[in-house]
Symmetry: C2
Subunit: 210 residues, 2 copies
Amino acid sequence: MPNKKKIAESAISRLSVYLRILEDTVAAGESTVSSQAMASQSGTTAAQVRKDLSLFGSFGRRGLGYSPSDLVSRIRRILGLHRRWKIAVIGLGRVGSALVEHRGFFDRGFDIVALFDTSEFKVGSNLHGLQVHHIDEISRVVHDKKIEVAVLTVPVEAVPDIIDLIRDSGIKGVLNWTPARLTLPDTIEVKNVNMVMELEALSFKLSQRE
Amino acid sequence: MPNKKKIAESAISRLSVYLRILEDTVAAGESTVSSQAMASQSGTTAAQVRKDLSLFGSFGRRGLGYSPSDLVSRIRRILGLHRRWKIAVIGLGRVGSALVEHRGFFDRGFDIVALFDTSEFKVGSNLHGLQVHHIDEISRVVHDKKIEVAVLTVPVEAVPDIIDLIRDSGIKGVLNWTPARLTLPDTIEVKNVNMVMELEALSFKLSQRE
DNA sequence: CTAGTATTGTGAAGTATTTCACAAGTAAAT
DNA sequence: ATTTACTTGTGAAATACTTCACAATACTAG
């Protein structure tokens, strides 16, 4: 696997999109797919598709196109989706609870295997078949269950109190739903999901055209 | 306001970040702030901060820095946040319902004023003080309530059935939570929020370092 | 076997975005 | 008044990303 190169973030999200398209193509029983077909379904250009794929190898055949099923497994491997990931959800407010019960993660290789909160009310209770742990137990549970990724859905005020616990827990990546900017060592990958920022971007675009 | 220029998407999300930082700065009672201070709090460079701001005007004073409160109102206006936005939520499953009850939107200028679903169960019921309408009523309600933005949290299978209704409803922008790529005229702005894609990006990064 | 059509992989060219670097402005200290 | 320490705004340079364009390859038809 030709690693070490610096791959643009944008290329990675396009690969995610291609993956979905290719899964549909496989399901439709097609035996080949062209970069042009992938491009029109994903809203980019054929050259972009080929360039993105060429970052990781040459997977097609000139004159013929690509094999959808081969490409699915190549991209899965590239994205690290040839295995399942164990996820913890930290913060079981409305959003956190909604995520726990959402099948979409399981269906795409992400298993929610542990829940954390601080509320006396919630700790010890059960949600979707999982026991809620106190956040203080995170190191032990992460170690025991070999958890690698945490989804952080606590109220922003709670972040300072728990960020140290996360840092020392053994967690390797965080999907941060809070508007706080997490200060974590760069051995821990952080991705931010911020609804309000997306709405603000929408607000900007709508305002642009008087 | 110097419009017409093409502004990078990335610049806009940084402005959102600066806005939060500046609100904190104002709350802390600071009377000036430097591009360097903003940069270190937002994880970028001072030059980037100045360049981003200079896309819209010159708001600082050489030798002194910027006035946080002035900058807050400048950025609010740039992002179109000097007014409130009326939002509809389409699809009241777990995620949609969680969003409706989330105060974070209201606090930042976004008012959820209408709800839509298709389920016999839900239509007619009340959620967080709002009546749930059938999606067939969207045009009327959007018009009556002057709604501009829709948050789409339906199951992906439901998208084909309702996309035409959205297109013709008068909605100006859509925040799309489904993994579907929406085919809408480019008079309607679309922003996509996709948890699974973010997790896949995390998976990629974690896999990179064997 | 040749011509015609399709399609990849990839350097090179073209754009876009970020970073550099410095003139110009401000204030405080001496 | 002059020096020193800061700091913005912005062209120019550097870097990053996307698109172009074409040789190389594959297949089909005649």
